[in-house]
């Protein structure tokens, strides 16, 4: 009785992260979320630090996927350019941290990497959205940006393409990027192996919660309204151009964060991160997982990248591509929005006779 008047602690905790804009607002959802996070957290204990260090990249890809799910699923901006911001941040971190070899360098690298990626997204977003570019044209321009970056970094093999100590290295990529670290001079914390895994997991969980809070805020409602009908939203007095610009920039910042985490995971980055197959991956994760579900996209990113690694062979891309085609044709919204229906479907399957029987009684 009193639960109606004064919400329990868990309800109050949940409230900022719930709303009509996100899939999964039930207690069952949050239980599953907690179990999922806990399982990811004990993964290094179960399989050892080395396995965790290797698995860290899947979480990095999940973060990249989240950046696309946020802008595409909630604001209707389909961008093939998330990998561009991902790569820009990675290269920037490499350039800064290779030149300033200390914890200060790595710390500045994080700031610079995410900062430059965010600025690039803001600049591109400014030109596109304030220039009246919309819908498919945004998609085409972002794709072209990624492809042009690929061409550019591919031809940086010569020694003239070095910034200080950091050689861009053309298609061979930039090697010898130091681990992620936070600190000043010689004192600080280094995030290698399992530490990298935990840091990425924390960033990932904070991003999910932060984005859920954001899309359920006033701004989030305006984002969704812009996705549904831009002209009408504008009539209601919202600055839809600004909303799209801000959304795109936030997406670029998140992609940048994942780029920094990626380059410090493998201590290496190369232009194939911008190639057309790489540019497609976030779109594939979001399409299959469900672009309106950040967690669904993340789960799809982890699952698909893991499957690709297991298949290791030449058939991996064929299978992933075919999966994409089938899912879009059969389930245009992806898998996640359907998961909520599963318990109901099971219940119906278990008691198939009951409902018709009741109907018969009434008709008699």
């Amino acid at each position: 009785m009193s639960s109606e008047a004064t919400p329990t602690l868990t309800q109050r905790l949940r409230a900022p992260f719930e709303g009509p804009n996100t899939i999964g607002n039930s207690r069952r959802f949050w239980a599953a979320f907690a179990i999922g996070a806990a399982l990811l957290a004990i993964y290094p204990i179960l399989f050892g630090a080395y396995a965790a260090g290797t698995a860290s990249v899947f979480l990095v890809y999940a973060l990249l996927g989240a950046s696309l799910a946020f802008i595409w699923g909630f604001c209707g901006i389909l961008s093939f350019g998330q990998v561009a911001f991902f790569g820009i941040a990675g290269y920037t971190f490499g350039i800064v941290s290779i030149n300033l070899t200390s914890y200060t360098g790595a710390t500045l690298g994080i700031v610079a990497g995410i900062g430059v990626a965010t600025l690039s997204a803001a600049l591109l977003g400014y030109f596109m959205f304030y220039g009246g570019v919309r819908d498919v044209y945004v998609t085409i321009i972002t794709l072209v940006v990624a492809l042009v970056l690929h061409t550019f970094l591919g031809q940086t093999a010569g020694s003239e393409w070095a910034i200080g100590e950091a050689a861009l290295g053309g298609f061979n990529g930039m090697v010898g990027v130091p681990d992620l670290a936070i600190g000043i001079g010689e004192t600080g914390i280094e995030f290698g192996g399992a530490m990298h895994y935990y840091l990425t997991l924390v960033v990932l969980i904070l991003t999910v919660l932060g984005l859920r809070a954001l899309v359920n805020s006033q701004f989030g409602y305006a984002m969704v309204a812009t996705r549904e009908d831009e002209a009408r939203t504008e009539m209601f007095g919202y600055d839809t151009t600004f909303i799209q610009f801000v959304t795109f920039t936030i997406g670029g910042a998140i992609a940048g964060a994942s780029g920094v985490l990626f380059v410090t995971w493998g201590n290496y980055i190369d232009p194939s991160e911008f190639a057309i197959t790489a540019a497609a991956m976030p779109v594939i994760w979001a399409s299959i997982g469900g672009r309106e579900s950040i967690l669904g996209t993340m789960a799809a990113a982890i699952a698909i990248q893991w499957i690709q690694l297991q298949l290791t062979g030449e058939w991996a891309l064929v299978i992933v591509g075919s999966l994409l085609i089938v899912v879009i044709l059969a389930m245009p919204d992806g898998i996640a929005p359907r998961i909520g229906d599963v318990p109901d479907a099971i219940r119906q399957y278990r008691q198939p006779a009951e409902t018709p029987a009741a109907a018969e009684e009434v008709s008699d």
């Binding site: 009246g132 570019v133 042009v148 085609i325």
Partner: protein, 296 residues
């Protein structure tokens, strides 16, 4: 000397013009006429190029091998339209994602079946020489002629034939067209087939000039998408105009600073073009025509 350099730039322009027009034309037909963004466009070109190269190596003379390339791509397009694409009309973003999936599958299947590269056909016709310089006659003369021939043929097909009227009617108003007895389903299929055939033609024509790898299609994408954006909704007029406009930019920047700067210049031009002309070049022309008819 200055004259020779001018000739150099002129050939570079013709080369760029042909490349942009031929890279775009199949994509533009399918986008402009059917509202499908075909991200597998590069792979249609790939099919055309591979079919040409393989049949040339099997002993066919080059012109015949090119015909095989076009026919193979057309069949490829028809099969895709019937199985997948026809479910996606009116679903713009979905069509992009699905065609991207097709692109991944085709690239990887090509790699599995034919390996990482094929040996290339030699470029025919040799070069045009002038005062110590020379330019490939195939790229500087033959391909521009082919680009113009294809544009004229398309123009005639879509404006002067019964089929063209039906196809355009279907695009403009599907329901009315169907009420008037047009088999719209078949019109979509045949328009898609024409778009595929044109992509195949591009592949066939460029097969002797580019390295035969499974990723060769990506080399056409930047130019094709930029030109579609700049050209605007009226395909038949927009493509040659965009080709001419972007061809000049590409030629000047590529000649002066290399391919990469050429591509950056194209991208910048596209962003500015969209900023200034949201409906592309043909949108601008329509606006001018409307104003003129109003003032009369």
């Amino acid at each position: 000397m200055a004259l020779y350099q001018l000739i150099n730039v002129a050939f570079q322009f013709l080369d760029s013009f042909a490349f942009i027009v031929l890279a775009t034309i199949g994509l533009a037909i399918i986008f402009g006429m059917m509202g499908i963004i075909n991200l597998a466009h590069g792979e249609f070109i790939l099919v055309g190029a591979y079919a040409t190269t393989l049949s040339f190596q099997a002993g066919l003379p080059l012109p015949l091998a090119m015909v095989v390339g076009v026919v193979a791509t057309t069949i490829f397009g028809i099969i895709l339209e019937r199985t997948i694409i026809h479910r996606l009309y009116g679903r713009l973003l979905d069509s992009m994602v699905v065609t991207f999936g097709i692109s991944l599958v085709v690239i990887q299947l090509t790699r599995i079946i034919f390996g990482t590269s094929l040996s290339q056909i030699g470029t025919p016709f040799g070069g045009v020489s002038y005062g110590g310089f020379s330019y490939s006659a195939y790229r500087g003369v033959f391909l521009p002629i082919m680009a113009i021939v294809s544009l004229v043929a398309l123009y005639v097909l879509f404006t002067r034939t019964e089929y063209g009227v039906r196809a355009r009617a279907t695009i403009q108003d599907e329901e009315t067209a169907r009420a008037m007895g047009v088999d719209t389903d078949r019109m979509y299929l045949s328009t898609f087939a024409i778009g595929s055939a044109l992509a195949g033609l591009t592949g066939a024509l460029y097969a002797p000039t580019i390295t035969m790898t499974p990723e060769l299609g990506a080399g056409f994408l930047v130019e094709a998408f930029v030109a579609v954006v700049v050209g605007g909704p009226s395909v038949l007029l927009g493509t040659p105009l965009a080709g001419g406009f972007l061809g000049i930019i590409d030629a000047v920047f590529t000649y002066g600073w290399g391919t990469f700067i050429g591509q950056v210049a194209l991208l910048t031009a596209a962003i500015f073009a969209i900023r200034l002309l949201p409906d592309g070049i043909t949108g601008l022309i329509e606006t001018i025509q409307e104003k003129r008819s109003q003032s009369q």
